[in-house]
Amino acid sequence: MLRFSDKPAVNTAVNLVAVAVMMFAFVFVVMVPLYNVLCDALGINGKPSGQSYTAVAAKVDESRTVTIQFIASNNEGMPWEFAPTTTMMEVHPGAVNGTVFQARNPMPHAMVGQAIPSISPARAAPYFHKTECFCFNQQPLDGESAAELPLQFIVDQDLPRDIGTITLSYTIFDVTDMAGAAVATR
């Protein structure tokens, strides 16, 4: 134990205060980042890895098809019309696939949206690589205008064989107020 004072009780107390401060810091410097790392690694909540994936010259596994479903939903208070153009797709692992989502801002003023992806089953998330995705960026849309949002992805050949269907869901949030202000955490 460190010594701060001649009184042993005061030393004990100071050490314990240090422990308490450390535990407070632990929440921010360990728990939060660790949780995010674990989410990426295990696909907790179906969070696909945050970064864009650089395609490697991979063999396309023609022998196998995986069904990909697309879902789009709006979070509360988000008035955009937001939908996939294709709801279901059969793909081969290793192949590069693309689809397009449509978004339309019916409001008279410009807004900023942010699509948050989530994959089900969650354990498929680490094997679902997006090479291009609108979810990487905030999406501004002028009032009463529409945009096509492209998505390109590769399903990893290492996808466990018992997974036959992957659902990719996007929830679109209104981040107009947040945009510009620093978006914290991660």
Binding site: A13, V32, N45, A122, M178, A184, T185, R186
Partner: protein
């Protein structure tokens, strides 16, 4: 202080500025009793609304405020401070110390509590009402969707945490540095041991709760997105952080209760506690396990199956040390020479009901079965068996056990026993039927329910009113004892009681053990 060897100061100043562990202990105990009554009043409102189907008395919004405040006030205002009060009174007397190690901090850690709870209660009258997201206040209901009172609530949690941490630091510093010569760790009374471990738990996890509410504060006011998916955060993260605090918190509440029961059962069995060493080890292992089981509160959030399995196995393991404790208590009674005064009755009540709560806890630990139990009244029944029959019953036992020592007057035994029986019957009538409605599918925290749950809910409400009313008898008995109880002067109030606190005069003088007592090295632990 100049008047060190004299009695207490006069007037209000005695209480405001006191650094005496007995005064502070007394204030903690009375404060926690007030909070017990306040939290109990909220419970009565809840049970009155649930007396029959339909919305009769309150609005669903107010109902949610009641469930939230009931939980917060009972956990942070009644149970935790009551055990801190008991620790203040008893730990110095049990280890032969003249006072707590840091008396001035002791005063602060108490006096920041009453204004905090006043503030928390005042949120009821604020625009938008008191917090209403449950005592577990899951985000985003407690952040994005909360009323303006959330900021005050966060402030209250911070101050309560500060108070608990200061109290715990004081207890650890006292136990580690102020033991009388010869009072080795393995000779300490079990109440001191359980509190020492509890205090370490508190120092470790209260800052985590502070971290959780700090993140909430930042999300609400400073534009961060820890718990909002929109900015890259995750509402489930809140639950992980909360329960990383919350599960150890459960043991923070129950471990001192284990300590109390381990003092009282041997006294009335007139036989030493069975398995002292294993009691200490079991307490320590429960404390350790409490850090790796938190996610069993969130089996339904959709964790990976590996996570579910890990938390399920770890949780099931807790049954082992808990079982050891129950077996030890029963074996302590075995071949003793028992009498059944009020403290012993409450301890036996504790033992039976806590064991039932332990069994339902084991059932809840089974993840697949928990998919049906989770967030139903089965859970409500389970944790009230542990919190009320566990913590509150043992606290009641402690008050009856040590009150004669504190004030030099004997309580009314008949009234005490009556209090026990009414409490015991009222408690079971309240919470046993809740197992049934929970299994039959009634979710918790609902202000109104389907017709098939009506009979058991009515039973539950009647039980709650009985249990609530019986506490008035307790209050009367305690006040009557202090004011006009039969005077006693035996150092040992109970013939089977062991420990240093029974070697000092009765009533306990304002200052005790100013010269450390001699502890017989041959004498086993007390």
């Amino acid at each position: 202080m100049g008047d060190h060897h004299h009695g207490p100061a006069k007037g209000l100043g005695r209480w405001l500025f006191t650094t005496n562990h007995k005064d502070i202990g007394t204030m903690y105990l009375w404060f926690s009793f007030c909070m017990f009554i306040l939290g109990g009043t909220f419970a009565m409102i809840i049970r009155a609304e649930l007396f029959q189907p339909g919305m009769q008395l309150v609005d669903p919004e107010f109902f949610n405020q009641m469930t939230t405040l009931h939980g917060l006030v009972m956990v942070f205002g009644a149970i935790m401070p009551s055990f801190v009060g008991l620790a203040n009174w008893m730990i110095p007397m049990m280890i032969g110390a003249p006072d707590m190690a840091l008396p001035r901090m002791n005063n602060w850690s108490f006096w920041i509590l009453p204004p905090t709870f006043l503030l928390l209660a005042s949120t009821l009258f604020m625009e938008g009402g008191a917090p209403q997201a449950g005592w577990t206040f899951y985000a985003p209901l407690s952040t994005t969707y909360a009323g303006p009172s959330v900021t005050y609530f966060i402030f209250c949690i911070h101050v309560l945490g500060l108070s608990s941490i200061m109290g715990s630091i004081n207890i650890i510093a006292t136990v580690m540095n102020m033991r009388a010569p010869g009072m080795t760790y393995m000779k300490m009374p079990l109440f001191v041991w359980t509190w020492l471990i509890t205090a370490f738990l508190l120092v470790a996890v209260m800052p985590v709760l502070a971290g959780a509410v700090t993140m909430m504060l930042m999300d609400v006011h400073f534009g961060t997105s820890f718990f909002s998916a929109a900015g890259g955060g995750d509402p489930v993260l809140f639950q992980h952080v909360f329960w990383f605090f919350g599960h150890p918190e459960v043991y923070i509440i129950i471990l001192p209760a284990f300590g109390v029961v381990s003092q009282i059962i041997p006294a009335f069995s007139r036989k030493p506690l069975f398995g002292y060493d294993s009691m200490v080890y079991a307490t320590a292992s429960i404390a350790f396990l409490s850090f790796i089981v938190w996610a069993h509160h969130m089996y339904t959030v959709g964790m990976p199956v590996s996570g579910e399995l890990f938390f399920m196995y770890a949780t099931m393991l807790i049954a082992v040390p808990t079982g050891v404790k129950v077996f030890n208590w029963v074996t302590t009674m075995w071949r003793g020479a028992m009498t059944f005064e009020t403290p012993m009755l409450f301890c036996i009540g504790f033992l039976v009901l806590f064991t039932i709560g332990g069994f339902t806890g084991l059932m809840l630990s089974i993840a697949p079965a928990d998919f049906q139990y989770h967030d139903s009244y089965f859970v409500v029944a389970h944790f009230h068996y542990v919190m009320v029959a566990g913590a509150v019953f043992s606290m009641t036992a402690a008050v009856y056990y040590w009150l004669p020592k504190w004030c030099g007057r004997m309580y009314n035994e008949t009234m005490g026993k009556t209090h026990f029986w009414i409490s015991f019957i009222g408690f079971n009538l309240t919470f046993f039927p809740q197992h049934f409605v929970g299994l039959a599918g009634m979710p918790r925290r609902i202000p109104d329910y389907a017709l098939q749950f009506a009979d058991f809910n009515m039973m539950s409400s009647i039980g709650a009113f009985i249990y609530g009313a019986s506490q008035i008898l307790w209050l009367y008995n305690v006040i009557a004892t202090i004011v006009a109880g039969e005077k006693i002067s035996d150092e040992k109030v109970w013939d089977g009681a062991e420990g240093l606190e029974w070697t000092i005069p009765t009533p306990a003088p304002y200052h005790t053990f100013e010269t450390p007592p001699k502890i017989d090295p041959a004498h086993a632990h007390s």
